[in-house]
Structure formats: structure tokens, C-alpha cells
């Protein structure tokens, strides 16, 4: 069946709207974040002013959540209209895959918001990569609406690819949380969030010695990064990242296994060390290492978090580099 170009166009427009609304939501979250930070930095002169400011900040935050939900609605509508336009599942090429992954990431965030934990702080930090991803998807990776290549024409696309999308979206959320964890953990240890920052300051202030002057450095960094103050404790961030990964990891495992079953039907073998398979396996090993590290003395915390980020890096290689640079059997990117 030929694609419905009119509907496909509507889908594209809806996605553009989603990106804009998400971007506004991001600014809203950032504004709330900044306001909270100012509030904490300024010693409360009298209670009322403080409360008033926090109320306003909260209002901005709630507005950002509302914008996120609206953006999510556009995002979802874009996916649905795309599916209707191409008469098939809307995840047949890299553009559609990216749109789905970000949809999953935002959905997970919204689900977490509904849940007990307060995760609104995550908004600003999650919306940034989501907007980036979608921008990349809509420009570089964009694929004109069309039918599936025969190799993808199987009901396994509904199982294997959905699992891969879900896991990737969740890993994206855990990746953002993990970065925040590393920053916060560093800050809690009295180190400024970025090494470069520290070095520059030390050079410009030679009176601060590197060795016993740690207290001075700590004081200095505490002053600089009120931003870090408004993040939840590193322990909470760590737990949140772990929770999301314990959801994503079995889903990822399932995606690999479902892919193997499909490969057995399509390519006559369930595992052939195709680059996509190999990088999925590397990603799996990375997250397995993270889960083990979290239970190993001396690896818990920062080093485990680094492993989780390395695993996420492998996932990104699996997704971007394997699809576009390395030729393999999974060459459905639709990018030429």
C-alpha cells in the first residue's frame, strides 16, 4: 500500500510541535530549579518571602509538567499518525526508532512522576537529551514514509523491536540519573562538579594549596554549585538509577533473545556475531557488570555508576555507529 503522504506530513508537524513544547517544558523545569537554588542560597530573612518564592517556583514546575504532558500528547499523536500513514508499525527505520525511544523515555519519566517518588528535578535534565535526540531524528535521520523492507516483515518486529525500544528508552532515563548521581556524589565529597573548573580556580588562586587545603576547596565548591544543592541526595539518585536499570536490563535481555529467535527464522542462525548482535551483547555485559559492581565492595557507588555509563555508551554505539557506519545485517537505518 502506498503511504498516505498527507497523514505523514501531519505526523511530522505534530513532532515539531512536540519538540517545541518539550523545549519550553525544559526551560520551565530549569527555571524552577534555579529559583529553588536561589532560595536555598539566600538565608531566609523572614519566612513569608521564602514561602512565596518557593510557591512561585513550584507553580513554574507544575506548568513544566503540564507542558511535558502536552508535548507527550503531540509526540504520541505523531507516532500514531505516522503508523496510520505508512500502514505498519511505526518503528521501521532509525528516524521512527528514535521517535519511539524518546517517547518511552518521556513516558517513564511521567510514570515516575505519578508514582510516589518526587522526580520532577529530572525534568530539565531529561528533556535536554530528548529534544536533542528528536532534533537529530527529525533532521539527519529523517526517513520518508514507506513500506518495510521484506526482512523486517515479521510479527517479531512487534516483539523484538518493542523490547529494544523500551529498554533503550529506560536506559536513557537511567543514564541521565547516573550522570546526575556522579555530579552530586562528587559534590558531596566536597569536590566541584568538574575537574577543569577546579584546576582553573586553583591556578588563579595560588594561595590555595592542593594538599591540605581541601577544606578551602570544599568551601569554594559549595559556594559555586548551589545547583547541586537542589538535587536529591546521591543515595536517592543511585537508588533511582538502579530501579530503572532493574526494569530495563531484563527487557534488554528479552530483546536480545527475541532477536535471536527472529534471526533463527530469518537468517538461519540464532546468533552470528553480526555487529548489531555483538554490540548488544557488549551493552548487556556492561550492565551486567554494573549490577555485579553494585554488590561488590570497592566498586559500589562511583565506579559502578561509571560502568553503567560505559554500558550506555556501548548502547549508543550499537544504535548510531552500527546502524550508520558498520555494515551488517541490521542495515535498516533508512539513512543514505
Amino acid at each position: 500500500m502506498t503511504p498516505n503522504l498527507h497523514l505523514a506530513h501531519i505526523s511530522d508537524v505534530l513532532l515539531t510541535w512536540a519538540v517545541f513544547v518539550y523545549a519550553f517544558a525544559m526551560f520551565g523545569y530549569a527555571a524552577e530549579f534555579a529559583a529553588t537554588r536561589r532560595l536555598q542560597a539566600k538565608p531566609p530573612v523572614d519566612g513569608e518571602v521564602g514561602v512565596g518564592e518557593s510557591k512561585r517556583a513550584k507553580r513554574v514546575g507544575v506548568a513544566a509538567v503540564a507542558l511535558s504532558v502536552i508535548g507527550w500528547g503531540f509526540h504520541l499523536s505523531s507516532v500514531i499518525t505516522r503508523a496510520a500513514a505508512v500502514h505498519r508499525v511505526p518503528w521501521g527505520n532509525m528516524y521512527e526508532f528514535s521517535v519511539m525511544v524518546t517517547l518511552v523515555a518521556v513516558t517513564i519519566y511521567l510514570v515516575l512522576l505519578v508514582g510516589r517518588e518526587s522526580v520532577r528535578f529530572l525534568g530539565a535534565f531529561l528533556m535536554a537529551p530528548v529534544v536533542l535526540y528528536l532534533g537529530l531524528a527529525g533532521t539527519v535521520l529523517y526517513a520518508a514514509p514507506g513500506p518495510l523492507v521484506p526482512a523486517l516483515n515479521s510479527y517479531w518486529i512487534k516483539i523484538h523491536v518493542v523490547a529494544a525500544i523500551t529498554a533503550t528508552g529506560a536506559f536513557m532515563v537511567s543514564g541521565v540519573v547516573t550522570v546526575l548521581y556522579l555530579l552530586k556524589e562528587r559534590w558531596e565529597r566536597g569536590q566541584p562538579p568538574l575537574r577543569g573548573l577546579l584546576l582553573r580556580r586553583l591556578r588563579s588562586q595560588p594561595q590555595v594549596s592542593l594538599g591540605p587545603g581541601t577544606a578551602a576547596v570544599a568551601e569554594l565548591s559549595a559556594k559555586r554549585s548551589g545547583l547541586m544543592n537542589s538535587l536529591p541526595s546521591s543515595e536517592r539518585l543511585d537508588r533511582l538509577a538502579y530501579r530503572v536499570i532493574t526494569f530495563a536490563f531484563p527487557v534488554w535481555t528479552f530483546a536480545i533473545i527475541a532477536g535471536a529467535i527472529w534471526a533463527e527464522q530469518a537468517w538461519s542462525r540464532y546468533w552470528g556475531w553480526d555487529p548489531k548482535e555483538t554490540w548488544s551483547f557488549i551493552t548487556w555485559l556492561g550492565y551486567a557488570a554494573y549490577l555485579h559492581a553494585r554488590a561488590t565492595a570497592g566498586w559500589r557507588g562511583r565506579r559502578a555508576a561509571m560502568l553503567s555509563l560505559i554500558a550506555f555508551g556501548a548502547l549508543m554505539v550499537d544504535y548510531y555507529v552500527v546502524n550508520t557506519v558498520i555494515t551488517g545485517l541490521h542495515s535498516y537505518a533508512g539513512v543514505s
Binding site: 513500506p147 521484506p150 526482512a151 530469518a266 538461519s268 553480526d274 555485559l285 555485579h292 559492581a293 561488590t296
Partner: protein, 536 residues
């Protein structure tokens, strides 16, 4: 509030708790220390990382298992590095001794971790839940309330409630008249953890069986041709290491009745392939039709038959100058581009027979290019602009001379060695047209058919692999999503000022894993057990 964390081997760890061993000194201690180091989580972590890093070159460099031609090209274009990489098995990463070694070490490490843990877990399953700590109020979400029931009655009621909620619960009486209920839940976590790791071992076993005893082969079939499973019938046959006898090939056969491909008219992308075959599971079995498609292999005997490629074949009839037909039939042309610009060769070793069994010297070779939808490039060259047969044109060149069969060297049916041949004629043909060569023979382009290539694969151990995979998922879900937690109450009899008897119930819990929500669960649980809430 401090959270007492009993033991840190609570996560996904397969690390056995360190047993204290009697010191016997000497070699045994050394070995034991080595073994302990080897089965430690740190080593498992190292091996996981090592395996991941070791796999990377296999995706960056071409691999023999995936594309041997590319490997040869790489070595040819990198005369220094190529052979060096080859010595390091970098073109066969996944079969390299060092890769297999890491895999083997990882699995030995898993065995070393899992075996003692199975014992410990079996013990834990039989053991009563550990008794309540002396001071419950120090634990997370500790609460207490007072009731008029006797301690024994409270304990019995709590035990029953917990058992209904599938806790393992156990009553103990203490010397001062207090009664405790100790309960534990979430044993499935460790069970899942063990199942996951054992399933990994099972998976490896299944894969090993598959690579040791399977076979695969590819074969090109023209329409109306029959394939009967047998080593000789394949174009390429790859037995596995321990596949030893041809009698293990299941005796199925199939005939390719029709092949069709359809393409998206706008861009030439393929939309569908069909190979309609008639197959027999054994020579005596009835013939059945089957439609082999991508993602839809034929399952017969112990093997699966996959459609892996297709192309056009030219139906050519060669008549020599005496009017004798010396060659008649489909010549497969191999596709070179996505638009199916294809090339092919026809060799006629005995051209000039006159039908009276009197061979004359004279060999004919034809090379050709086929354009399913012929078009002319801006530079004036003929090309194909679409994979379907919209404007089929066959370009042929005829050679006479020595085809080189007398040398005895096996040669490809898809290439012509022109070193001892002389080109005599060239032409382009449309289906149905004939071409008279200068030596008096005729080439008739009768028509176009299609061929298909099939891969036959037999991979034993697949069921084992599938079962292992399912167990891996189940085990993972258990080990990551189930929380191991303990709950205690202590019912303490209190005599009030007026001699009234009442019971103070202290309750607290301990989560051994940090998936959230435990405090809320405890809150809910104690509420159900009769703790008055603020609103009451």
C-alpha cells in the same frame, strides 16, 4: 535511623559467603586462596569487562565468519598490518583461542560461584526465619501499639496473617513471657539469581552442541529443479567440527516450482519474495507445497530451508552451424547491483557436433550482462534502473578458442578465462530475439527465468538454548525485581497499674535489597495486623 544491612551479598551476587576454613597449610591453602580469588565477584567483574572489550575488534575489523571476501581484501590492502592481525586471530575474533578462553574462565567462575550458593540457599530454605533482634525499635519503620489480646493469641493471629500473605513465619517464645513472630519473604530473589546463572551455563551447553554437531549448506536452484539433501547436492557445504557422517543428513527433497519478487515501483526497494516449492520430508513421504519467504523458512526433517538470495537466469539456446542444438537451458546470472544488473557466462565445450557423434574442435564462450530494466547513463553506458523486468536487455559477447577445460583445473561457472580466447562478436538482445554468429551458429534468447538460493541449516541444541533463554529471563526477573525482606513482631505482656493485662506489640522489618517501597509495605502490613492509624 541506621539501616542494618546484614551481609552485603544481597544483590545479584553469586559470590559465596566466605567460609572459614581450617588452616592446613601449604599448597592446599594456596590453591584455595587462588580458587577463592578466581570465584570472587571482582574476578567475575573483570571477566565481564574483558569479554566486552575482546568482542570490540570483531565489530571493527572484517570477520571471516561474516564476510571472508572482505577479510581477504583487507589483508591485501594492508600488507603490513593484515597478516599480523591475522596471526592474532583478529579476523576470527569469536573463534579465537583468547576469546574462547575468557568465555571459559567466566563460566568456570560462574560455576565456582553458583555451586556453594546453591548449598547455602537450600539451607536457607529449610531454616526457620532468624529470630527477631533484641531491639526492634532500632530497625527501619519500627512501630508499636497496645492490644488486650494475650501475646500467644497475637502471635498466632500474626503468623496466620503472614502465612496467608505468603510469608514464611515462625513463632518463638522468649524467657520473659514475650512471644515473637519472625517472618521472611522473597526467597525467590536468590532462587532467581541461581536459576539465571545456571541457565547461562545451560545456554552455553546448547550453543556448544549446536556448533559441534550441526551443518549448513547453500544451493542455487533454477525453477523446476529439485534439490535432494546430500553433501554432493550443495554448492557450499559446511559441516560442523564433529559432524561425521552423511547419513546424518535427513533425506528430504524439494523442487522449486516458482520464484517471484515484487518491488516498490517508486524506488525499486524489494517488497516481497516468494519461492513456491513442493517438498517431501523423505523419499516415501507425500509431496506437499510450501511457500518459502524471508522470515518464513521451510521446516522439514531436522533442518530448516531458508530463502537467501535470488536472481535472473537467461534461457539460451545455442544451435551450431550444422543446425544441431548443443546447449539449451537456463544460465544463472549473478546480480551485481541492487537494480539487478547481473553478469553470467555460458561455456559450450563441444560446439561443432553435427548430430552424428562426430565432435570437431571448436569451443564457444559467452559472457553477458543482463539489465532487467535497461537505461542509459548520462555517460552513454547501459545500466539497469529497476530490479523488475520492465525493459529486459541482454548484452552478449562471444568468444572462440580454448575454454581451458583441458588443464583439469576446476573453474567457476560464473567467469570466463579469456586468455586463450578471441572475441568474435558482440550484441544486445531482447527476449525472443536470435543472434547469428559469424561462424554460422545461432544464439537464441528464449526467455528469462528466475533462480533462488537456499540455505539449509541443521542446528541441534536449539531447544536447549530456547529453554535456557526463557529461564534466563525468569531468573533475572526474580533476582532483580523480587525483594528479600524480613519482618518481626514481638508481643510483650505488660501489667498495668490496676493489674490490667495488656500486650505491647513491637513490629519492624528489614529489607535486604534496596528496591523502594518497603516502608510503605510495612506500614500497610502493620495496619492490617491491627495497628491503630492516626485517624482512628
Amino acid at each position: 535511623m541506621t539501616v542494618v544491612d546484614e551481609g552485603t551479598t544481597d544483590q545479584l551476587s553469586t559470590q559465596p559467603e566466605r567460609p572459614t576454613m581450617p588452616n592446613r597449610g601449604g599448597l592446599l591453602v594456596g590453591l584455595r586462596a587462588l580458587w577463592r580469588y578466581f570465584t570472587s565477584m571482582r574476578t567475575a567483574l573483570l571477566l565481564l569487562a574483558l569479554l566486552a572489550v575482546a568482542a570490540i575488534p570483531g565489530t571493527v575489523l572484517p570477520q571471516r565468519g561474516l564476510d571472508p571476501v572482505k577479510v581477504n581484501d583487507y589483508i591485501a590492502s594492508h600488507p603490513q598490518l593484515g597478516p599480523f592481525f591475522d596471526k592474532l586471530y583478529l579476523f576470527d575474533v569469536f573463534a579465537a583461542p583468547w576469546f574462547v578462553l575468557i568465555f571459559a574462565l567466566l563460566f568456570v567462575s560462574i560455576v565456582g560461584c553458583v555451586v556453594p550458593r546453591i548449598r547455602l540457599h537450600a539451607k536457607a530454605l529449610r531454616r526457620r526465619p532468624p529470630n527477631a533482634p533484641r531491639n526492634l525499635s532500632k530497625l527501619r519503620a519500627a512501630t508499636e501499639w497496645t492490644t488486650t489480646e494475650s501475646p500467644a493469641a497475637v502471635a498466632e493471629r500474626v503468623r496466620r496473617h503472614l502465612r496467608d500473605a505468603r510469608w514464611r513465619a515462625d513463632i518463638r517464645a522468649e524467657s520473659d513471657g514475650a512471644v515473637t513472630v519472625a517472618a521472611e519473604k522473597g526467597y525467590l530473589r536468590e532462587t532467581g539469581n541461581l536459576v539465571f546463572h545456571i541457565a547461562l551455563l545451560l545456554l552455553l551447553l546448547g550453543i556448544a552442541v549446536g556448533t559441534a554437531f550441526g551443518y549448513k549448506g547453500t544451493v542455487l536452484k533454477q525453477q523446476r529443479e529439485t534439490f535432494a539433501n546430500g553433501r554432493e547436492a550443495y554448492d557450499v557445504f559446511q559441516p560442523s567440527r564433529w559432524f561425521y557422517s552423511d547419513s546424518e543428513l535427513s533425506p528430504f527433497s524439494f523442487r522449486l516450482d516458482r520464484f517471484s519478487a515484487s518491488y516498490d515501483a517508486s524506488n525499486g526497494e524489494p517488497t516481497d519474495f516468494h519461492a513456491v516449492v513442493a517438498y517431501q520430508a523423505s523419499p516415501t513421504a507425500p509431496s506437499k507445497p510450501y511457500d518459502i519467504r524471508v522470515n518464513h523458512p521451510l521446516n522439514t526433517g531436522d533442518a530448516k530451508v531458508f530463502l537467501v538470495g535470488h536472481g535472473y537466469s537467461m534461457d539460451l539456446r545455442i544451435t551450431n552451424k550444422y543446425g544441431v542444438v548443443v546447449s539449451d537451458g537456463d544460465v544463472p546470472f549473478l546480480p551485481d547491483t541492487a537494480q539487478f544488473l547481473s553478469h553470467g557466462v555460458l561455456k559450450v565445450p563441444h560446439l561443432n557436433v553435427d548430430g552424428k557423434d562426430r565432435p570437431h574442435p571448436g569451443q564457444l564462450g559467452l559472457t553477458g550482462f543482463f539489465f532487467p530494466t535497461a537505461a542509459v547513463t548520462p555517460s552513454g553506458q547501459l545500466t539497469s534502473s529497476f530490479p523488475g523486468l520492465n525493459n529486459p536487455v541482454l548484452q552478449l559477447a562471444a568468444f572462440k578458442g580454448d575454454l581451458g577445460f583441458s588443464t583439469g583445473i576446476p573453474q567457476s561457472v560464473y567467469s570466463l578465462d579469456v586468455s586463450k580466447l578471441k572475441e568474435i562478436d558482440q550484441t544486445t538482445l531482447k527476449p525472443g530475439q536470435s543472434w547469428k554468429l559469424s561462424d554460422g551458429s545461432t544464439v537464441k534468447f528464449v526467455g528469462i527465468h528466475q533462480w533462488a538460493t537456499f540455505q539449509v541449516a541443521h542446528q541441534p541444541g536449539k531447544t536447549t538454548v530456547l529453554v535456557a533463554a526463557i529461564l534466563i529471563i525468569a531468573g533475572l526477573l526474580g533476582s532483580l525485581r523480587v525483594r528479600r525482606r524480613r519482618f518481626w513482631i514481638r508481643a510483650v505482656p505488660v501489667t498495668g497499674s490496676g493489674g490490667t493485662q495488656s500486650t505491647v506489640i513491637q513490629a519492624a522489618g528489614l529489607a535486604r535489597t534496596d528496591v523502594g517501597g518497603f516502608v510503605d509495605e510495612l506500614d500497610e502490613l502493620t495496619k492490617q495486623l491491627g495497628r491503630p492509624t492516626e485517624r482512628d
